[in-house]
Subunit: 466 residues, 2 copies
């Protein structure tokens, strides 16, 4: 880990005074508030900001950034704190900008299948707001993350195999730059060749190039029919072969998730389910009733060809919800396997043809680590997570987990894959970024310097050495 | 037009000598060769480079760029010269780098639905190479453009409504930077959150940030069934209403193209077809046989509800090919309406709900211009082109066409659209870029300066004032 060992930057009293005057009760430097904002779901040690602002508009965010820039103080955007890579940690101190109060759905345009939201809107909140419109927001990372956080990390999750990632659904942004100026990128047209694709540059930039204050999102029509299924396999490899064949045949499956036996055990314990404790695939199919039936039939045949057993249907919405709730709680279920533990999580993504090889190699590395561990994956994308449970106070365990993680990433890179499919670089994966992209990281650094010369926006994240 | 009025930059004899020594017969400063490379399909006056290089490898491109950089000489990447926005014109002189000899398909990975090509491969060539693989390359801008050119302009075309644009299908790039160094962006994984999305930054950067030398592309499975249809309407508005309803219902149509009566007349004259000379939609449906039938039935019903007539089928591949060949020749057919004319082409794209309004407004502007003109559009995306035919020697006609073009763009921007859906900014649309993106253009300029401080890569394109 590139511990941003840099010392904390002084937070001047004049800045405290200016922000307090600007924001009143929506500004705090209370220990409890700073504590909440110096912490995420990663295993990294907490790192508290000096203060927290709760803006209500783009103009306020711009004024906040201008004030911080005038004092050379870092600014860190904060959604809901569900990051797994330390994105919100304030290693150098500074101001956390919490988007809780910018949580309005500003517009829904059903006829154009798009909407405009503030960054504090969570994905569940957006879907609730879309209820009855015939549309839904398809990106589902499990956690009820904010759309700002999801955009900033280029998140994806269980639906990406069919609906893409935040890269695909963010159409446009309002962004506050490092000097407090405001720009708009992209727009509501379905496509554009008008200049450099700044929207895609800010998506996934983890708050280091600018702070998003409005997000235009593409929505999807609610499918006419939805069906889910569960199937167990004698081995992870049998399950993965089923996935590979499904993708290669072009079946437009909406979700296809792998859980290893340990993860199913964890879920049963945590969610009071009674799933068979074997390698398991969860499927979901979207389309017309005929198309859903066709898809499911094809996949059932492929599963049978790989010794899949107990192909079970969940056509009722309640059954489906129970199934996916269990899947969504996987991360916390896994943590509960070892009370008090934190997870070191890998996030590699490889070309689908190499998925079985990569998982097999990862299993060896996991075994070598001797730690409690489990696998869960958005395998339709070639993306899977190894969760290695560590005692956060035990440096030896952390080192064993990190060693396993390094090996798994190296396998993925050797197979033409990426070190992170959806969690982002944050503080923990900067060495991997260099291993994966080499000299291209210098271009990233040049862009960071051009857009944030004083290195005030979420410093120490993404690009090593800044 | 931001005429890059800047004077031509001297091309030193030492650079001539160095490039001739490096490339031998693959280097030329012959007038005919320079003439061919100082010309595209736009109405802009020719602007010849001082010399042309025909590299065969990434290493050669890097060496060429290093040599030019050492002498402060511009470098302009050249695909096949089908640009409509003056992208290849060498207003300041310099070296044109022609990718004709870098036209190899380097790898096809059917199991991962991807391939790696050199930038000189054309889309038809790629599809020929994919024949028998069960896969095809779905982006089809009409012209048999190179994949380098298509990537550089973020091209799309008739299939984008279903398969996306170059933004969506370029997975990774090898890029030579302005100093001659080489980077690799993206990769073969289906998704990644590893750092800034440089792939998307270079796609659509029109050769101004770097020169692509290898392109990894996502492919699509050849659909099990394909059907095409043609339908005429009493008015353009009736046709457009059919399109809007089709998209809003979520019919996964593969192509949906509008031609006005004048364009059909032009096509009949040029392609010896006998289509009814009325506003017309061309459709194509991809999927399983059942799905194709379902889609076509839905669309036929929608068309009938808008007084569509003579819904005609083309299920045989030959009939389909004839239909689409006619559509693909639309640009040249339109030019033939007025021998010797050049076209000033608009490329606006609006949210689908505003498409009818935007086309109606454009028709008024076209009428005011008094010029021969026609409309053709990838209307499923909300994208349409007005072709205004001008005598390139007649400044009054050019001014009338440009006035109409400005009005049409302003309508599109007022409706939340973009000035260019797929052709790019080039030299002709820089004012529109500013009108559309305002202060965001300053960010584009900052990025350009960070990556190409000496302004050697296709100078005078995209970003105004450089």
């Amino acid at each position: 880990m590139h511990a941003p060992g840099a010392e904390r930057i002084a937070f001047p009293a004049a800045l405290h005074a200016a922000l307090a005057a600007m924001l009143g009760e929506r500004y705090s430097s209370a220990a409890a508030v700073c504590g909440h904002h110096g912490h995420d779901e990663s295993h990294f040690p907490d790192a508290l900001p000096d203060a927290v602002a709760f803006p209500e508009s783009t103009e306020e965010v711009a004024a906040i950034v201008r004030a911080c820039a005038a004092h050379g103080v870092p600014v860190i955007a904060f959604g809901i704190g569900s990051s797994l890579e330390g994105h919100v940690l304030a290693f150098r101190g500074g101001l956390s900008v919490d988007f809780t109060r910018m949580n309005h759905v500003l517009a829904v345009n059903p006829e154009d299948l798009d909407c405009i939201v503030q960054p504090g809107v969570t994905r569940k909140q957006l879907n609730a707001a879309l209820h009855g419109s015939g549309l839904f927001f398809p990106i589902d990372p499990g956690a009820d993350a904010t759309l700002g956080g999801m955009s900033a990390t280029r998140a994806s999750g269980t639906n990406a195999v069919r609906y893409g990632t935040m890269r695909d659904v963010v159409l446009g942004l309002t962004v506050v730059l490092a000097d407090g100026s405001v720009i708009r990128t992209g727009g509501r047209a379905r496509k554009s060749s008008a200049g450099y694709d700044l929207t895609r540059l800010f998506v996934g930039s983890e708050g280091t190039l600018g702070i998003m204050t409005e997000i235009t999102l593409r929505l999807a029509p609610v499918p006419e029919a939805v069906a889910a299924a569960v199937c167990t396999f004698p081995s992870v490899n049998d399950a993965v072969q089923t996935v590979i064949q499904t993708i290669q045949m072009g079946v437009p499956v909406a979700r296809i998730e792998l859980l290893d036996a340990m993860m199913v055990r964890a879920i049963n314990a945590h969610s009071k389910t009674t799933l068979a404790e074997a390698p398991t695939l969860f499927f979901e199919f979207h389309g017309s009733p005929a198309s859903v039936k066709e898809q499911a039939q094809t996949v059932q045949e492929l599963a049978a060809g790989n010794d899949g057993q107990d192909f079970e249907w969940a056509e009722h919405p309640e059954d489906r919800s129970r199934l996916w709730a269990a899947r969504h709680n996987a991360y916390f279920a896994a943590l509960a396997l070892r009370p008090g533990a934190r997870a070191i999580t890998t996030d590699v993504c490889v070309p689908i043809s190499r998925l079985a090889d990569c998982i097999a190699a990862a299993e060896q590395d996991m075994q070598k680590s001797g730690l409690v561990r489990t696998i869960v994956g958005h395998v339709g994308d070639g993306n899977f997570h190894v969760l290695l449970l560590v005692d956060p106070e035990n440096p030896d365990e952390i080192e064993r987990a990190e060693a396993a993680s390094r090996c798994i990433v190296q396998h993925a890179l050797d197979m033409g894959g990426t070190c992170t499919g959806e969690h982002g670089i944050g503080v923990g994966k900067q060495d991997f970024l260099v291993a994966e992209h080499g000299a291209a990281v210098d271009v990233m650094r040049a862009i960071k310097r051009a857009l944030d010369p004083a290195n005030l926006l979420n410093p120490g994240k993404v690009v090593p050495g800044l």
